[in-house]
Structure formats: structure tokens, C-alpha cells
Amino acid sequence: MEELDVEPAITNIPAASDGKHLGFAWGPGDILAYETLYMAPGMCAKGSGCSFIHEVRKDEDIYSPILRKLFNESHHIFVGLQTIREDLPSKNKKTQFVSISKNYRSVIRACMEELQQVAASVLVLQVSILLAIELIWNLCEVLFIDAAPAGPLLLHLLDWVRLHKGDVDEKAREVLQSESPAEHHDYWDVVVSYVLQGRFEEARQMLVKQATLQPAARNMYKLMDTLLSKMPFYNPGGTQTLTEFDVKWRHWHEEVDRCLQDNSFASNQHLEIICKILVGDEDTLLEHKELLSTWYHFLVTRLLFCHPTVKPTELHYYAQSCMTMFLDLRSVPEPLDSILLAAFEFDIHQVIKDCSIALNNWWFVAHLTDLLDHCKLLQSHNLHFGSNLREFLLLEYASGLFTHHSLWQLAVDYFDNCPEFGHVYLELQIERVPLDTERKALKVLRICEQRQMSEQVRSICKIMAMRALRNNRLGSALSWSIRAKDAAFATLISERFLQDYCARGTFSDLDLIDNLGPAMLLSDRLTFLVKYREFHKLYEENRFSEAAKLLLSLITAKIAPRSFWMTLLTDALPLLEQKEVSHSAHCALHCGFGHDLCFSGRVQLGEAELKDNSGTK
């Protein structure tokens, strides 16, 4: 992002002496920092200096075993999302997008639950981060993806608040399981909490218990029960229009107000409070800050009792004022608060930007932005390099995955779905995957081959071939160099094979050499090796005439290395003694030898032998 209006977080390197300059180097996923000789001018060295090297890693999350599941499962959802067809009618698409959003959220929740069970203190922070992420995602789903209009909007917001305020049910359970629930010290807290969340059924059930204890106040309780039961809730699936609902609600609101004015509940402090809440009295609501616990709960409750037909465009005004009213004048809004506020203001880009800064892992913003992009909610936001916001975040996220010894495979799919730079990023990153085993190398290779990354294929094969050669595994080295289509290397290895043969008299890796097929044409030396081995096979099978012909062609084709001529000569001698060798082949061999060896210093020996044999003819 071009603008950097927030100071980036400072990471302190411990144990670095004062005044010394730090040097550093990039690793594939981290940075090394070390103290150097250099100092700022005017400072003198304190202490003997530190000879440590510090490794600074950006993202530890990918090493968490529980979060691993989050990465794996969200990868699955991500890939599925990319395949949603463009040509579906928008209504169907919206349902699918909402469903995908819920999938993501359930993955987050599952991860959270698992973390909570582990109950290590270090994970508490992780759990709270995931809670915040799910809270934000849920709100984005309600406001952006589902894009509920006035009417359903409030209902969704109510669901949202209820989902994220789990302690009410816990408290209620405690109260109900006690001997006399109505006398439990938390009883009224539970009732009020239910009312604040619009859970009137449960509130009424609780109140019944109190009513039975106070027969004298029976009428009051009956009245409250009636009020609670008559509060209208908008029914999106029904035939009632928003305006009709609004009218009904106002009637009810006036009725509640009348009860207040009549002092119907004046003798019962608790019921009076509930009545004030129902009428939407701000002061009363604010007196229950502890039960509300957050400004956004306050916001939704206030809307519930003052303006249930709130429109999406009106949200930001209420959000801002609620936040101001709820938070102390002294307290500073936390990052989460600004993010939620930005969401209520429908400023998607601000939400993404703030989340990117607040979190140290790109997982959340990458997946959410991708989903929002599919919903066509992101305006094209021009970044440096010309790539768009979605792609930028996905690239960052996937690059982070690449440093992990197994998660890197997930990253490939992400790069595949970044049309502009995904391919080149993959090319740069995949070369850095350590090829510890042959199996891993093959895995990496397959990925490269599937994507026509021929440079990387060559490079990987070359690395594996060299490694095999250094470990004297000639057969393996040869197959790798053939796969790399590396003629020079194949020549080198063929030479080694031939040297081995000269030294030991036998070939190694016969299976490989015998079954190369057209691959043998990669290099002259390789072709010679294969044909030479073939010659030996023919000889062993007593097919002398064919062997002789082959040997002759090897000589005349001039693909035999000079160093091998002596060997070929030695091989030819027993053939000349064989009666099966045809007369013409015999002559040809003679001539062949004569022609090719007369310039060789070894002609003496050859001629001597030939003379011998021709004598017996």
C-alpha cells in the first residue's frame, strides 16, 4: 500500500549493544540480524560486543499445530469458492457466498474451541484473537455479504450480538440450577441480560419464577409479561411490510411508555428498570454497562428499543454516538473498535486496512478480501506493481505459507488463483523448497511440470542429478539429467558409466540403460553408452553377427570417444574368431578398423592381430 500513515511496529532485537549498527540478511522466510563493527558516530563501544546472530521471524502462527487445521480447511473452502460460476444469477450467488462465509466462520470457531480445550496460558491470546476475527467476519457477513435491508438488518445484528455474548447462558444455567433461582444473586442480571438481547421468551420464563414468589405483585408481573409478549418483531418471510411493522411497533412503544408514566411498576425497582429499557431510555441502558460489556452490544440494544427499522445507511451515525456514549472519556478506542466502526460505516477498505495492520498473519484479511471480491464489493484499488488488493493480500498470505515444510503445498493453489503475479511468485518461491528427499523433489517437480514451469523443472532436475552423482548413484543421476533434458550432464554421466565399465568390466543400472528408448538420443555419449551395452547383450546371447554389425556401426558412426577405441578394438577381436560372423561383416570390420585406426598410434597391435586371423581364413 502506498500510504503508510501508521507507524509500523518496532521489533526490538535483544542483546544488541548500544550504538552498534545491525547487519542483516534475508532468509527464505525470515531475517537474520547481527551486530557489526560499525557504530553511529560519536558513540564508543560499550562492552565487548555481541557475537550472536538473531533470527527474526515474521509469523510464528504457521507453526502452531492447531492453527494448521485452520489453514488446511480454509484452503479447501477457498478453492471451492474460486470455482463458483460467474454466470449464476446473482440471487443464487448471494446465498452461496453467505454459506461460504458461514463455512469460514465455523472453521474459525472449531479452531477456537480446540484451543480453549488445550488451556495453556500462552494460547489465551490466540483464542482472543480468533474471537475478534470471528466477530469482525460475522459483522462483515451481515452488513456486506448478506447485505440485509432495514427490518432483517436488526434481527441479524441481534443474532450477531447473541452469538458473541456467551456468558449470559452460562450465568442463566447457574441460576436455574440453584435451589431457588428467583433468589439467586444473579437472577435479575440474567433477566435484564435477556431483555437487553431481545430474548423475551426466556425473560418471561424467568419472570414467572419470581412471580410465583410474590403473589401480591401478581398483577404487575402479569402486565410485564403482556408487554414482553406483545413486542413486535419483524418477520422477513411474512406478508407484513416494513411500514406496517413500524406502525405496530410504535403502538407498542407508546403502550410501554404509558405504563412508565402511570407508575405501574413504581413499587418494583427491577420491573421499573426493565420497563425503562423497553422504552429505550438511554440512561438506564448506560447504567447496565457491565451487563452490556461492549459498545456494540449497547448499539444493537439501543436500536432494538428505539429504532428497529434502522436502515443500513443510518448505522454509522448510531454506531459513532453509541461508542462515544459508552466508552469512558479517558479510554482510547482499541483497534477492534475502530475496525467495527469502519464496518458500520460500510468502509470496506478501511476495515481491511485496519485488520492488516492489527494482525500479524495475513490469513484473515486474505480470505475475507477474496470473498468480498467475489461478491464484487471491492472497488479496484490501485497498488504498486499494478496488482489489486485481493491479489496483493493472497500473495502475501501464500508467500508466508511457503516457508513451512508442508503447508507450502496449500500456497500453490493460492498462487494459481492470482492471475497477475501468481505464476511468477510461485516460480520464485518454489525453487526455495528444500528437496530433502526424492519423493519431495518429485512432488515439487510435478507441480512445476503441471504449470509449464520449464526453468524450474530444469533447475530441480539438475540439483537432484548433481546430488545423485556426488553420492555415486549414477543411475539416478542419469534419469534426472534425462528428465532435465540436460545433454551436457547426460554426457558427463555417460562418461562415468563408461569409466566404471573400464574399471570393473561390468555395467551398473542395466535396467535403466536397457529401457531408455528415444531418451538415449539426448547426447552422443549417452547413445554410445546404450548401444555399447546393447552390443554386449548381443554378444552374451551369442548373436555374433548382429553384434558385429552393431560394433561396426558404432565405429563408423564415430560416436565412440577416442579413449574407447582401444576397448572397442579389444571387443572386436573375439568376434573376428567367430565363424558365424558373416564374410562381409568380417571384411567390413577389417576395413573399418584399417580406415579408422590407421591414424591411431595403436595401429601396430591391431594389424598384428588381423594378420594373425586372416592367416587362418
Partner: protein, 275 residues
Amino acid sequence: MVHDAQMDYYGTRLATCSSDRTVKIFDVKNGGQILVADLRGHEGPVWQVAWAHPMFGNILASCSYDRKVIIWKEENGAWDKMYEYCGHESSVNSVCWGPYDFGLILACGSSDGAISLLTFTGDQQWDVKKISNAHTIGCNAVSWAPAVVPGSLIDQPSGQKPNYIKRFVSGGCDNLVKLWKEEDGQWKEDQKLEAHSDWVRDVGWAPSIGLPTSTIASCSQDGRVFIWTCDDPAGNTWTAKLLHKFSDVVWHVSWSITGNILAVSGGDNKVAYTL
């Protein structure tokens, strides 16, 4: 005092060099730190180390105040000197391996003002080309351009060696950043980039992400870091943009693998910029 530390290609090994004249290699897989080799051969502080591409095996180059460049190779688990180059008349300050597409080729910058290019030609032979007086007073840094084939959009038939243009950038005590290009087997000065007012301490050519632009970072004793960009593929017009002016000398610039973050070292802090 450690002067330089470099991770190998895969981040599994770490090479460090120091004023105690040694080069040390550590195995850092899985967060461990095992000393694998202690290479002695230099007679002065060692300034820089550089890992070659793994396809050539485990090869490390080091350069030192003792005017030597030593190339070390691991054979059968043991490290040994593969080649020693003594062709400079003064401290060698920087070494950088070229892209593997060019084969095994090392650029060395020295305080004698010259830049040498050592190319492995096989069978323990190295070919040496020297650019004398590349920078008056001395050369402090060298960095290779990524291998780019002109017209690389067209597929090269396999088996044929593509026509690469070899280029690298150097920075020196003449306050200049210079670009060098190889033409017909000879190295020529291609561009002279002026912007710094004091010694150029480090240069770095950004990795290519497929765009026709080239980007170079340079940092200097004058506290400035410049980003140089060239939009035309022929590489003729370079524009400088001041990234930042620090209050102190900047020693080192380094690009991340995908070239979207530049790390800058100097002053009191380590700073990373996203571009």
C-alpha cells in the same frame, strides 16, 4: 565481529564470516544451530560470503581484506578450497554469484577499483575477466541482474542455450552506481547513475516478477537510499527516487525473494520498506 551472514537457498544452512578471519557454516534446520564447518584460509577480516545455486553442489564464496577471493566446496561431507583468486591488489569487498542460468559465475568488487568476473569452465578451471578502474578509489558492492532473455515471451526450443544478456550493477567510492553489460564476450560500462554525494556502500538488483521494469536499490555513506527504475526493456532510461534520507550512514540494502520488500540497514535501526 560478524561481518556478514547469509542463509543458503533453502534456509537450512547459514554461513557467517568475521574479523577473526574464519568462515563458519551452521546447520540451522528445525531451529537448531550446529557448527558444520570452520573454514580457515583467509589472512584478514572476511567481508562477505555468498552461496551459489544448489544445482552446482554446496559452494560458498568468501572475500577478504587479504585481497583474496576463496571459493569453497563441500565434497563428501567435508568442506575444502575449490579455488583461490589472488588477482586483486587491495581488499576485496563484495562477492555475488550470477543467476544460475549463466552457469557458475562470480563477480568480485575490490578496493583497488577493479571488478573481476570468475567463470567456472569445468574441470577445476576458472576463466577470469577483469574490469580495471571500474570505480576510482574502490568498488564496494556488486549485484547481478536477474537472467532475462530478450523476447522471453517466445518459447525457446529446448536444448538450445538461450541468448542471455548478462548485466550487473556496482557501487563505488566515486559516489557512482554503474551498470555493466557483457557484449561479444567483453564487459562494458552501460550506465552511470549519479545521485549520491558520498561513497556508495551497497547496491541490490531486485528480483524480476515478469514486468518489463528493472529496479535497483543503492545506499550510501551520505545516508540516502535511492530506488532506480527503468521502464524500457532496452534498459536505457533510469529514474532515481529517493526512498529515504537517514541521519546516519546506510551500510546494506537487500531485497526479499519476491522483491516487494526492501530491507535497509544503517543508523540505529533496521528498517524494512514495502514497495
